[in-house]
């Protein structure tokens, strides 16, 4: 374990020096006033990827995606995500009843994983991103390191909600013995996939550097 030291001197922030590092290729760039004001989003001069959005643009886009995701959360949880027909008997399963079925059959470990991935993560992700947008909007200075770590965490866990969608795809391909058993997807699955994609877009639109902005420094 090696710690990098700035030789005991006062710590310097990239923001103070007007430099920033590309999150993709780690190129360190000088942030000129021109670069700050003329672009909707900053583009890395070396790899050409997006380095960050302008404050207004990022907050608007993230909020729009979050509202859409929040609205779709309701159909995703109310309507069945799949329909299982076995021996002429039809079972419609929602996200929540899927967890209950797993508990009923004694698969507690899998039930916990599905509950976290499908029910907890989407709600938690929307709430956290909403809080981050609001904290930047209201210029709250509360623990930027904690908020940045929260952003990274939420960005990382969001994809795991896809478990249910993948599970349905495997069942559809596997359970197609016409007379005995078939599986079909339900409208809830479509809404649920939309929630996952919209929250991924929302996380992608948000720029964690905004958490470090002091009021009036960025347009």
């Amino acid at each position: 374990m090696t710690e990098i030291s700035t030789q005991g001197q006062k710590p310097t922030h990239g923001q103070d020096l007007d430099i920033l590092e590309c999150p993709h290729c780690h190129h360190v760039m000088k942030l000129t006033a021109e670069l700050k004001n003329t672009h909707h989003h900053l583009i890395c001069s070396r790899c050409g990827l997006k380095v960050g959005h302008s404050r207004r643009h990022a907050l608007q886009r993230t909020t729009a995606f979050l509202i859409a995701a929040f609205v779709l959360l309701f159909p995703a949880n109310i309507f069945p995500i799949m329909r299982l027909v076995s021996f002429g008997e039809e079972t419609r399963e929602t996200i929540f009843s899927g967890v209950l079925t797993l508990i009923a059959s004694g698969q507690y470990g899998i039930a916990v994983i599905v509950f976290i991935a499908s029910i907890f993560v989407p709600i938690f992700k929307i709430l956290c991103l909403g809080f981050l947008v609001l904290s930047v909007h209201l210029d709250i200075q509360w623990r930027p390191v904690v908020r940045t770590k929260l952003y990274r965490f939420v960005e990382f866990i969001g994809r795991w909600s896809m478990i249910d969608i993948f599970m349905i795809s495997v069942l559809i391909a596997l359970v197609k013995l016409k007379a005995l058993a078939t599986v079909e997807a339900g409208i809830g699955a479509l809404a649920f996939a939309a929630v996952i994609i919209l929250t991924m877009f929302a996380a992608n639109s948000f720029d964690p550097k905004l958490i470090w902005d002091k009021r009036g420094q960025s347009s």
């Binding site: 590092e21 993709h24 479509l190 991924m200």
Partner: protein, 214 residues
């Protein structure tokens, strides 16, 4: 502002500055020995790791991943059997069967996230790293790097594996389910991909590209 050489005028294009992505603290890039990790002084975030032959390893694991991918595609993934009838599915069947239904959009999403994106990611890593190791820097390097960065969040092989396990558990309630060879092939591919991505240091890659160009 004297901060051990971190001077605003020298800041642009300086290869030896690292800025913590978590807390924005400016550090000097100090090379670390193999197996060691450099952490942010203030927030503890991992900044970079010391690996020898990191790009070579990344390339090797990516090639390895493609070999596993071939296995994952030819063998059955799961075999489902009920009252004397049985059905086996291939890796891509999940997405393909889904495409034939009313919910073709979900099929597209599944096909892309579970098979196409992980496969393309491995191809892109190989096409991007191999020329750099041979001392060349093709013009397409930039485009390949952008493709790599954009594909990464959509390559969900590891999540697909959990999805397969959940499907397996659900089905074993009312039918007999067997695990096919493809599942192990796919797991091999996912593990290889994780290692290839772990050893792929974008900073090192770009320094080599720039050195090869000049």
């Amino acid at each position: 502002m004297d901060n051990s050489g971190v001077h605003p005028d020298k800041a642009p294009d300086n290869q030896y500055i690292r800025i913590c992505s978590e807390c924005d603290l400016v550090h000097h890039h100090v090379p670390v020995a193999r197996g060691q990790t450099a952490y942010c002084k203030r927030c503890g975030k991992t900044l970079y790791r010391g690996h020898s032959y990191a790009l070579e390893r990344s390339l090797a694991f990516a090639v390895c991943g493609l070999a596993f991918f071939a296995v994952a595609n030819v063998a059955p993934l799961l075999i489902f059997s009920m009252q004397g009838n049985s059905n086996a599915n291939l890796l891509i069947d999940g997405g393909l069967e889904f495409l034939k239904t009313d919910y073709w959009f979900l099929g597209l999403l599944v096909l892309f996230a579970s098979v196409i994106a992980p496969f393309l990611l491995l191809c892109v890593i190989i096409l991007m790293v191999a020329p750099v190791l041979m001392g060349r820097a093709p013009v397409v390097s930039g485009a390949l790097f952008r493709a790599y960065a954009r594909l990464r969040p959509w390559a969900m092989g590891e999540i697909f594996i959990i999805g397969i396990i959940v499907a397996y558990v659900k089905l074993s309630d009312f039918a007999d389910v067997f695990v096919g060879t493809a599942l192990f092939g796919f797991m091999g591919m996912v593990i290889s991909s994780v290692l290839a991505l772990l050893y792929l240091d974008p900073r090192e890659l770009w320094l080599r590209i720039e050195a090869n160009r000049s």
